[in-house]
């Protein structure tokens, strides 16, 4: 068509559109064509309309000072309800005058999480931080902790085994003797305890008044379930992922079966199972705390998902890494701990954080088995007949808190992705 036009009839092209400045930017990004222009205008009208309505409701006609629900009626949002109830929403039915304890527990956990986010801390310091932080958290929440003898023996056994595996080639003879001693004490002690020769005995640490878990509620519960769920599920998930990649058929079958079974059913059904069936599984007379049951369900659930994430990391490693490790004559434990896992985990840190965001949100499901997590305490705040009828305000407030946590984690995951890829980027 235009090719046939003689050269003399060609019109000079229009000068290029100015793309600098506010007007240029708007022309390029908002009004580049007719369709775009119409879309922009419609969207602006829509956004202004919604914002106008929302600000009118949430700010200009809102009530911040009412002392009962009936004073709030008629106008816009009733933020006075949040002002009245925020301590219950954050800490549940924890004794009112002791609210400083869950507050500091939350601060301790947040400090732990923030410190773990710093890459300079990714070494033995992390273990110290988590040890001290967890101790502070639980002593604040419980008020008194009874550390049973069997737990101490178990820790000795596990510590000895881990130390021996990690340092088997490097340890000095005296150090190795210490690990053997730990394993020996742990194993013998546990056997004696199970047989019943060692008495049931525990160390009690009690600086504060005891608060049982059924009184816990709000943000600390959500944080504990999510954080410790992940902390325990992480090593468990690594074992499952290694088992799934193993060439020992029985081990592989067990791991595949467990992962697929857990991933195939909803978390709710696991929670219901934990709350109904766990008591059936144990010898009659033993009772397990409801909170602990939920925590167990969350750990099992998280373990299966983390295993799949880590499997992705293991699969992304080139075969040469495994072969090189074999060629060096390393045994399985050395190969896995020194060569394979560090690389695989580095790859999967960003998806792991996304999994963590998912679990942080999923802990809200524990309200179905009657645990007062943050969403449940928000829900309970609506039940008060004096303040009935303002669901929007409470849920928006709760959504805002969840949003802050999840959004900052997802930002951190994006930052880390860039940060960790610095070495491989050209």
């Amino acid at each position: 068509m235009t090719d046939a036009m003689p050269a003399g009839d060609r019109k000079p092209l229009a000068p290029p559109v100015d793309e600098s400045g506010v007007i240029g930017w708007a022309r390029k990004n908002l009004f580049s064509s007719w369709g775009n222009g119409i879309t922009t205008v419609v969207l602006i009208v829509g956004v202004v309309w919604i914002l106008n309505w929302f600000l009118e409701w949430a700010l200009f006609t809102a009530n911040f000072t009412a002392s009962t629900g009936s004073e709030c009626r008629g106008g816009g949002a009733c933020w006075a309800l949040i002002r009245e109830k925020f301590r219950y929403i954050f800490f549940g039915s924890f004794p009112y005058e002791q609210h400083w304890r869950p507050l500091f527990a939350v601060i301790a956990m947040l400090a732990m999480l923030v410190l773990s986010a710093d890459r300079r801390m990714w070494n033995w310091r992390l273990l110290v931080i988590w040890g001290v932080g967890s101790f502070i958290t639980f002593i604040l929440m419980f008020g008194q902790i009874h550390i049973p003898l069997s737990l101490i023996l178990f820790v000795a056994l596990v510590g000895g085994v881990i130390g021996l595996t990690l340092r088997s080639a490097l340890a000095a003879p005296s150090e190795r003797m210490a690990y053997y001693a730990l394993i020996g004490i742990g194993a013998v002690g546990l056997v004696l305890r199970i047989v019943g020769i060692l008495p049931k005995w525990s160390i009690a640490i009690a600086p504060l008044s005891y608060v049982e878990t059924s009184l816990w509620g709000g943000l600390p519960v959500t944080l504990i379930l999510a954080t410790y769920g992940l902390a325990f599920a992480f090593p468990y998930g690594i074992l499952l992922a290694l088992g799934r990649r193993s060439n020992l058929p029985l081990i592989k079958g067990l791991c595949v079966g467990f992962i697929e079974l857990i991933r195939g059913v909803p978390l709710i059904s696991l929670l219901i199972m934990a709350s109904v069936m766990l008591p059936l599984f144990l010898p009659s007379g033993t009772t397990i705390d409801k909170f602990l049951r939920a925590q167990v369900a969350v750990i099992l659930f998280a373990g299966a998902y983390i295993a799949e994430v880590i499997r992705g990391g293991l699969q992304s490693l080139p075969k040469g890494q495994f072969e090189a490790a074999d060629a060096m004559g390393l045994n399985y434990a050395q190969k896995t701990l020194l060569i394979i896992l560090p690389q695989a985990l580095r790859v999967v840190i960003p998806p792991l954080i996304n999994t963590f965001i998912g679990f942080f949100k999923d802990t809200s499901l524990v309200l179905i088995i009657g645990i007062f997590d943050f969403l449940n305490t928000a829900n309970q705040a609506l039940v008060d007949p004096n303040w009935a009828g303002f669901p929007g305000e409470v849920y928006l407030f709760a959504a805002f808190v969840y949003f802050i946590f999840c959004y900052s984690m997802s930002r951190y995951s994006k930052y880390l992705e860039v940060e960790l890829n610095k070495g491989t980027r050209r």
Partner: protein, 396 residues
């Protein structure tokens, strides 16, 4: 020494505790033994506990009368029906939410994912806010919010908002709208619709073959829609066009006649779709971004409009990246529909939960839940894997 047999490496003598094969078996036997011991311990405790609590075992309870109401049923059900029937009602309700949720969230998610890549800054920003807002807040919270808004912000049946000349009513009891009275012709219309599906499929095959041989495209979408709607309509006309409708009417405290979409169902579906579509949007966006830039440039160079290049060039290729993660979103929507129990929609978990509380037979019921969800999950992933294989890049 002389080599006696070429090809067979002489077996190096090692101590049995250093032989990897023997060590592997020992390790396996130890682990399986531990797991087996744990299982035996749990099972024996369970049996003892069940005997002590005098709970019968086995699935005989399924034939007993359930005795509880279910608010929203797709099939005939009354409290006099059996537990098996109640559980079946729950399964159907779960499937209904899952299927509708998958369809709607795929549509909405694709629109938002494509919108995020729009050259229009405002549109892409709004789509981005949507994704962040829904991804970073628990689904359960959205469900509560929508449910409370529907049940508290909408008026009661007496002050129901009427729409479309008094035929559709919005109230806190749900949305009431008219439906045609049952008529024998409906069955035949259904048959005609099934024939229409088969016809469309055949037409699509013929159209593709024609395009391959002659290069002439065939308007399969409009023709297919014509067949799917036209055939049942023809049957309806041939049957004398019965048009008696059942209209919703306010009688006493609630509506009678017509049909109703329950507020629980609405809240669950809306919440699931809005939440999942945010994840779907991210998958669609990353799928399109994974394509080489040359693809969209080539499409533009061919003179395709933005819509055409998206529909004919980009999305079909992006599907290869999109389908595998999409499968897990579909599984998630199915599993997340179990949150229905929190807002009182009677899905599978809700039915089972009542059954556990009434019969005390936790183990059998948990087995049913697991079996039901596993078979649904496996069917979805089998279908998606088949589809994935079909669209996968065929390389020689």
């Amino acid at each position: 020494m002389a080599v006696e047999s070429l090809g067979s490496v002489p077996r190096v003598k090692v101590a049995p505790w250093n032989d990897p094969v023997i060590r592997g078996w020992v390790f396996q036997i130890v682990v399986v033994g531990l797991v087996g011991f744990l299982a035996w311990y749990l099972v024996s405790n369970t049996i003892e506990n069940l005997q002590r609590q005098k709970i019968a075992s086995g699935f005989h309870y399924l034939e007993r009368e359930a005795g509880f109401e279910i608010g929203d049923t797709m099939i005939e059900y009354s409290p006099a029906s059996t537990y098996a029937r109640a559980i079946w009602v729950g399964i159907l309700n779960t499937l209904r939410v899952a299927v509708l949720g998958i369809l709607l969230s795929t549509l909405l998610g694709t629109v938002i994912g494509v919108g995020r890549l729009s050259p229009n800054w405002l549109l892409s920003r709004i789509c981005g806010w949507y994704v962040e807002a829904f991804r970073n807040v628990p689904l359960l919270l959205w469900l509560f919010l929508f449910y409370k808004l529907i049940s508290e912000a909408f008026p009661g049946p007496r002050q129901a908002i009427s729409m479309l000349w008094n035929s559709v009513f919005l109230s806190n009891r749900g949305v009431y709208f008219p439906v045609p009275m049952a008529d024998p012709i409906h069955k035949w219309m259904g048959v005609a619709f099934l024939i229409g599906i088969a016809g469309t499929w055949m037409l699509a095959r013929w159209g593709r073959k024609r395009q391959e041989t002659t290069g002439q495209p065939f308007p399969i979408i409009s023709a297919g829609l014509g067949i799917l709607i036209g055939l049942p309509a023809l049957v309806w006309l041939a049957g004398g066009a019965p048009h008696h409708m059942s209209w919703p009417e306010l009688k006493g405290f609630n509506f009678t006649g017509g049909t109703v979409i329950q507020p629980e169902f609405t809240a669950l579906l809306v919440g699931l779709v809005l939440y999942t579509s945010a994840f779907v949007a991210e998958i669609v966006r990353s799928g399109i971004l994974a394509l080489h830039k040359g693809q969209s440039e080539a499409a533009a160079a061919l003179g395709l409009s933005r819509g055409q290049s998206m529909r004919l060039v980009l999305l079909p290729q992006a599907l290869r990246v999109i389908v595998p993660p999409m499968t897990s979103q579909y599984l998630n929507i199915t599993k997340n529909s179990s949150l229905a129990i929190a807002i009182g929609y009677p899905d599978l978990v809700a039915s089972i939960n009542v059954t556990i509380n009434q019969t005390g037979q936790a183990i059998e019921n948990i087995l049913i839940i697991m079996a039901a969800y596993l078979s649904v999950s496996l069917s979805i992933s089998a279908f998606m894997n088949w589809y994935n294989k079909r669209i996968a890049l065929r390389e020689r």
